[in-house]
């Protein structure tokens, strides 16, 4: 990944969520992580650790309080990545 643009982050997230979600729903940015994709708290926290390693950033789990959808999560990662570079 070259510049970790928002769209690249979103694409990577969608790919990863496809593997860990228990549903057959196609992953789109507006889907709710918990209600629609059945991502429970443990799965989400483990995904955050993977994301931290992929982008070499720190994502405090308390920042997830405002994250509802796939695009919310992509925005959070993009913001942290931009601020850290």
């Amino acid at each position: 990944m070259s510049d970790n643009s928002y769209n690249e982050i979103l694409q990577l997230l969608c790919n990863r969520l496809e593997n860990i979600s228990n549903t057959d729903i196609a992953i789109t940015p507006d889907l709710s992580l918990i209600d629609q994709l059945s991502i429970d708290s443990i799965k989400l926290l483990n995904l955050i650790m993977e994301i931290e390693d992929t982008f070499d950033i720190s994502v405090p789990i308390n920042a997830l309080a405002d994250v509802q959808t796939v695009s919310d999560l992509a925005s959070l990662i993009h913001r942290i990545k931009t601020e850290s570079s």
Binding site: D40, I42, I57, P60, I61
Partner: protein, 395 residues
Amino acid sequence: MNLLDKLDAAATARKALLPDGVGAFGIPIEEIYSSTEARIGERRILLLGTNNYLGLSFAPECLQAAHEAIDKEGTGTTGSRMANGSYLGHRALEQEFADFYQCHASIVFTTGYQANLGTISGLVGPGDVVLIDSDSHASIYDGCTLSGADIIRFRHNDATDLEKRLRRLGERAQNTLIITEGIYSMLGDQAPLADIVDIKKQYNSILLLDEAHSLGVLGDTGQGLVEKTGLINEVDFITGTFSKSLCSIGGFCVSNHPQLDQLRYISHPYIFTASPSPSTIASTRAALKLLRNGKHLRRQLWNNAEQLYTKLSKTGYQLGPEPGPIIAATVNSPQGALALWNGLLEHNIYVNLILPPAAPENKSLVRCSINAAHTPEQISYVGQVFAKLYNSILE
């Protein structure tokens, strides 16, 4: 979805895991016979899910101390220590914990949960960082949330992963509180404390160790993992609970940092709650003496633990990485775990059932906690029943 609908959704999710009538959580216990046996329904049940590691819940010394305290000082303190004052027993127990750990001071909290909540939220705040093991107990997660600090998780018992995350923090690492546990409550494994201490020193961070499940269990005098590893002077804060090896309720924090005392004035879980009752403090003090001198109890506990771990391991159960007083069999499905738990209860054995998402890796656990007062015959019987059920349920 309104507030009550959310609770209905939670009830539906629970019923999907546990059908009506299966009382795996909060099982009704009609009568307690001893530290190892109770009556559930009409049956005499062997208790292997109580965290009563040293078997002191009916120790005559503890019973007598509690009786005397209740007669002398009443049933409760009716308020916080800040408002209602500190009884002689509160102050004596704090001195005894400080002596036990050869530390500057200690603070007693009303529960073990509050010991973590109060210590963590007193030590860090907004702008600081807490780095916690991913398998941390809920009291650690909740204490971190209450603090407002940034919460970062490192992979369970992985010191290399911890180091990587500290490195990423740059200068913030020196305002970071690292939290680990002596023995982890789910699989019974121990923290790699020496490696974590090395990293904490390298980054000039602060280290808090929760000895909830290791107090009384590890070390010559039962201090916990700090004593087993000889690293007591390298750990900044130690917390623990009275509700396991000490068989009462309450918690503590000990430290050589003189700033510990300030927690009494800033920590809400310490300030805004009633202090422990006199009988609780008295039985805890008596149990602490027994714990310190309880080398024989620890020997018996470890003999029992090793006997059962070996038997279950040979049977084919997937267990935690090392023997210890917590022995948890990992089962791939909640249904399999429930069948095993039910099978054990039908054979008059009570253990803990842990279903997702409470267990690590989204697995289910059937967890035993061993007691020094279990007889070799009882442990042998439990091993035989586990073996029988493995063949009939899990194979």
